[in-house]
């Protein structure tokens, strides 16, 4: 692939910590190779800031392979930037050309307070999983793995839902800050599998309850979440969650 270099203007959200107000800071970055990843472009900038004795930009990242769900940048008004079904760590600079201006913000949602710069606190997601995102089975009790055949189609649908990386882009992309896509992905995965069946109702109820407690907004069927989800989690899962939740509400004692 032919590569090229470019100069860019970056407008990046800076915020010292949760208790201070933030603002945009503008940087000119030079000689950025089209072969770099978006985060490597930030590495180059940060290296320069360190050398200039300034505070580098803080952001979450770890695997840089699109699977851990740590990276979380809102780029030019889009969660994870311009590419479809992609995390920002897998965005590459060939998406840009010389002279472009790029605006980078953290996830914006009431339930994801900013820790510093582009880094936010997503522990609400852990607490939602705590409320029921599992099968209650202790180690050592399992039957032989092939004792219970599972329809391949169902198992694949469960896998598709289980592919969620817990990044929170769905929340950031939603004008209401709803976490329905995230919650529905886990509820669906386990509802589709026989192992998850015994706890279906209580799981849906408890997870939705926790989601509300954490202050996530309501789902308005806008579907920005699906459009921005790096793993292509489908809004069909939300429909499934609603069904599970309704049946749980009709038979609350079960």
């Amino acid at each position: 692939m032919e590569h090229y270099n470019m100069n860019l203007t970056l407008k990046v959200w800076r915020q010292k910590n949760a208790n201070t107000k933030g603002s945009f800071e503008t940087f000119e970055v030079k000689d950025i190779s089209s072969e770099m990843s978006f985060l490597e472009m930030f590495d180059v900038l940060n290296e320069r800031l360190v050398n200039e004795g300034k505070d580098p930009i803080t952001f979450d990242h770890d695997c840089r392979e699109g699977i851990c769900g740590a990276c979380s940048m809102y780029v030019d008004g889009r969660a994870h930037g311009p590419w479809q079904k992609n995390t920002v760590c897998q965005l590459h600079m060939r998406a840009y050309k010389d002279g472009d201006t790029i605006v980078v913000e953290p996830w914006r949602a009431n339930s994801f307070p900013v820790i510093k710069d582009l880094m936010v606190d997503r522990s609400a997601f852990d607490r939602i999983i705590e409320a029921g995102g599992f099968v209650s089975t202790n180690t050592g009790n399992a039957a032989d793995a092939n004792a219970l055949p599972i329809e391949r189609e169902k198992s694949e649908a469960a896998f598709d839902a289980a592919a969620c990386i817990g990044c929170g882009a769905c929340v950031a992309a939603c004008p209401n800050g709803s976490a329905m896509l995230f919650v529905s992905a886990k509820v669906s995965q386990l509802a589709l599998l026989p192992q998850g069946n015994p706890e279906r109702k209580i799981r849906a109820r408890n997870m939705v309850e926790q989601m509300d407690k954490e202050g996530f907004g309501n789902c308005g069927n806008i579907h920005n979440c699906e459009a921005e989800c790096p793993k292509g989690i489908s809004v069909e899962n939300i429909a499934r969650l609603n069904k599970e939740f309704l049946s749980a509400s009709f038979f609350p004692e079960v």
Binding site: D43, Q90, I150, R152, F159
Partner: protein, 657 residues
């Protein structure tokens, strides 16, 4: 100190059962009073914390990421082995054990490896019960594939996201215990030291990465499950945050470090593009089932891959290893690529890459499909179209990832790949119970040295992490903790905590006060460069000696000239990184010392002085059939040896010809 591996008596196949029958137990009432610290939430740590919580212990779990679900295990792609023999193709516990021993070049402890094979089947049962959506056949039963050139199909997988699915299963189990109050989770916390009282591990000092404050935690036992140290090479397939700090600090407090020079270089990774490169991306080994590896026969060939005719291509693996061809083990395959590139046959702009070509596979599958569909005289275009569909079904997500990173379409042009640091077989020395040389301090998962000898087979790390956490430690820890039921929780105002915390604080202040001119990143890169050039795929006496000196100089420079911006009491990733890089430098030196000491070639460790006439690795069993366990003393590192004995296997030459 004489190393006692505490291997139970009896026939190999009975050892683990014997152990479990006689291990001491802790009553439920006593378990509630016993506290366990688990550092790490990858497959090893999450499975251990969840299971120990289920048993009723009070567990404190730590990770440096913002959520336990993001531990590096999440990135594992290809699969997990288990000797289930579901395919009825002749697999057995013995066979998995034997292949692991042989794959590790007969440098692992038989009893541990055997146990690993024995519990492997339980892992799959457990994961399925948790709702892990493994790939299945149309009949609804679990699917398997062969991996890393084994002759049986024993690898279970969930598309190219096996690690993710296994970890999310363990993470769910962990969060369930958090909800029940049995586990307390400390995310964004980094362990900086262990605390020892009367010779036993009794707690840790951790830094809260959000506030920067140091915190003290007590435990009757401490489990290190902090993953591998591949990032000592700067560039690797590991996650950016993967580090050796927890293991290294344990080492400095008395835990021996075993076989640090055993590092695995994975043959199929996306090559480096330039100086900006921050990490390397693995292309799963499964690709070698269908891709053919080649370079041009002509040196410095400027033509595009597709312009080079068939007879001007050198399929060097098929040429050198006719029996295994493209499916040889990782170490052998990696070295062969390096050999071609060093000789001037590499491709791409940097000339440090070889082709991984799917054209043949696409053609072959296309023909089969056309035949299945009853197309007579299908045109070459149709065949290629049909073939691409098959390849897409098998490897679609990998091809997509490759295209995202490189901007090239691997269905049309061959992939370019090069070896990269991937996994570390070395780690803290542990006995059969997974206890280090410090009583009460355990080590699980990639962080220990235990099961893979000098080279790990594909799909066996996930197996080991989960074996250690779900099925080994829950039994072995009771044997120790049963002796601790009279020890009440020790207050963290104890002098030992005070002292440890002060030492950690002083080191952090020292780092911040250097106020030099060079960034942490720059030092890390320089360290990586030394390690890769002189202690990478091929090592020799002269180079290793130079590396040791160069690292010493670099370390001195680091402590005199590193620049860390920001403050201590805030979120400060540069400071976090500085601590990790400082530890990597110390480890790097030990790796080189270990490599220098081991004057044989075995597995991932290739000493140029020890090779056969045709350039294959040569083991020297008479001299080096031991585990090198390094002891940290004030006078430097001291070598201790655990001799390896072979009851079931006979070390033989590992030939893949």
């Amino acid at each position: 100190m004489a190393l006692d591996a505490k291997i139970p008596g009896g026939e190999m196949a009975q050892k683990w059962a014997n152990y479990k029958d006689h291990a001491k137990l802790v009553s439920p009432a006593n378990k509630r009073k016993l506290e366990i610290i688990v550092v790490g939430t990858g497959l090893a740590g999450a499975s251990a914390a969840a299971t120990l919580g289920e048993l009723g212990y009070k567990v404190k779990s730590f990770c440096f990421q913002d959520s336990p679900r993001r531990a590096h295990s999440i990135a594992a792609q290809g699969g997990i082995n288990a000797a289930k023999n579901y395919q009825n193709d002749g697999d057995s516990v013995y066979r998995l054990f034997y292949e692991t021993e042989k794959g590790g070049d007969f440098r692992s402890r038989e009893a541990n490896t055997y146990r690993l094979a024995q519990v492997s089947g339980n892992i799959i049962d457990q994961c399925v019960a948790q709702g892990v959506p493994f790939a299945r056949e149309y009949g609804g039963l679990l699917a398997n594939r062969s991996f890393g050139g084994t002759q049986v199909q024993r690898t279970f997988y969930a598309a190219g996201q096996t690690g993710q699915q296994l970890l999310l299963g363990a993470y769910g189990a962990l969060e369930r215990q958090v909800a029940l109050g049995n586990v307390t989770m400390y995310s964004r916390h980094e362990m900086h030291d262990i605390v020892k009282i009367d010779g036993k591990a009794r707690g840790i000092i951790a830094r809260n990465l959000v506030t920067g404050k140091l915190e003290r935690y007590f435990g009757h036992a401490v489990l290190i499950c902090s993953g591998g140290y591949g990032n000592v090479f700067y560039l690797s397939t590991n996650a950016m945050g993967s580090n050796v700090t927890a293991a290294w600090k344990s080492h400095k407090k008395g835990a021996y470090f075993a076989n640090p020079c055993y590092t695995q270089i994975h043959p199929t990774c996306i090559p480096v593009t330039g100086d900006h490169q921050s990490k390397l991306t693995l292309m799963s080994e499964s690709l070698r089932n269908d891709g053919r590896i080649w370079v041009p026969k002509q040196k410095d060939d400027k033509r595009k891959a597709n312009e080079i005719p068939e007879d001007e291509r050198d399929y060097y693996l098929e040429r050198r290893y006719p029996a295994f061809g493209n499916l040889g083990p990782r170490d052998v395959t990696s070295r062969a690529a390096k050999e071609r590139c060093d000789a001037g046959y590499g491709v791409g702009t940097t000339k440090k890459a070889v082709y991984l070509d799917f054209a043949d596979a696409i053609n072959r599958y296309g023909k089969t499909e056309a035949h299945k569909k009853g197309f007579q005289n299908a045109s070459p275009e149709t065949i290629i179209e049909l073939g691409k569909q098959v390849v897409k079904e098998k490897y679609g997500n990998l091809f997509e990832m490759y295209e995202k990173i490189t901007g090239e379409n691997p269905y049309v042009v061959p992939m370019r790949i090069y070896p990269a640091v991937h996994y570390t077989m070395g780690g803290l020395w542990v006995d059969y119970e997974l206890m280090t040389t410090v009583p009460g301090l355990y080590c699980l998962g990639e962080a220990n040295f235990s099961d893979h000898g000098a080279n790990r087979l594909g799909a066996s790390a996930l197996m080991q992490g989960l074996a250690d956490g779900y099925f080994v430690i829950p039994y072995t820890i009771g044997n120790y903790l049963s002796g601790e039921i009279r020890t009440p929780a020790i207050s963290t105002s104890h002098a030992a905590f005070e002292e440890a915390e002060n030492a950690v604080r002083e080191r952090i202040e020292k780092l911040m006060n250097v106020k030099g001119t060079e960034s942490v990143e720059s030092f890390h890169k320089r360290l990586g460069h030394i390690m890769w050039e002189k202690c990478g795929m091929a090592r020799n006496d002269k180079g290793l000696r130079e590396a040791i000196e160069e690292i010493k100089v670099l370390r001195k420079e680091f402590w005199e000239n590193v620049r860390i911006p920001g403050e201590i009491f805030e979120m400060n990733p540069e400071l976090d990184k500085a601590g990790r890089v400082a530890d990597f430098m110390e480890l790097g030196e030990l790796i080189c010392m270990d490599a220098l000491n081991r004057r044989e070639s075995c597995g991932g460790h290739f000493r140029e002085e020890s090779q056969t006439e045709d350039g294959e690795a040569k083991r020297i069993d008479e001299e080096f059939s031991y585990v090198a366990a390094w002891e940290y003393t004030t006078d430097g590192e001291v070598l201790n040896k655990e001799p390896l004995t072979f009851e079931l296997t006979k070390p033989s030459e590992r030939s893949y010809k």
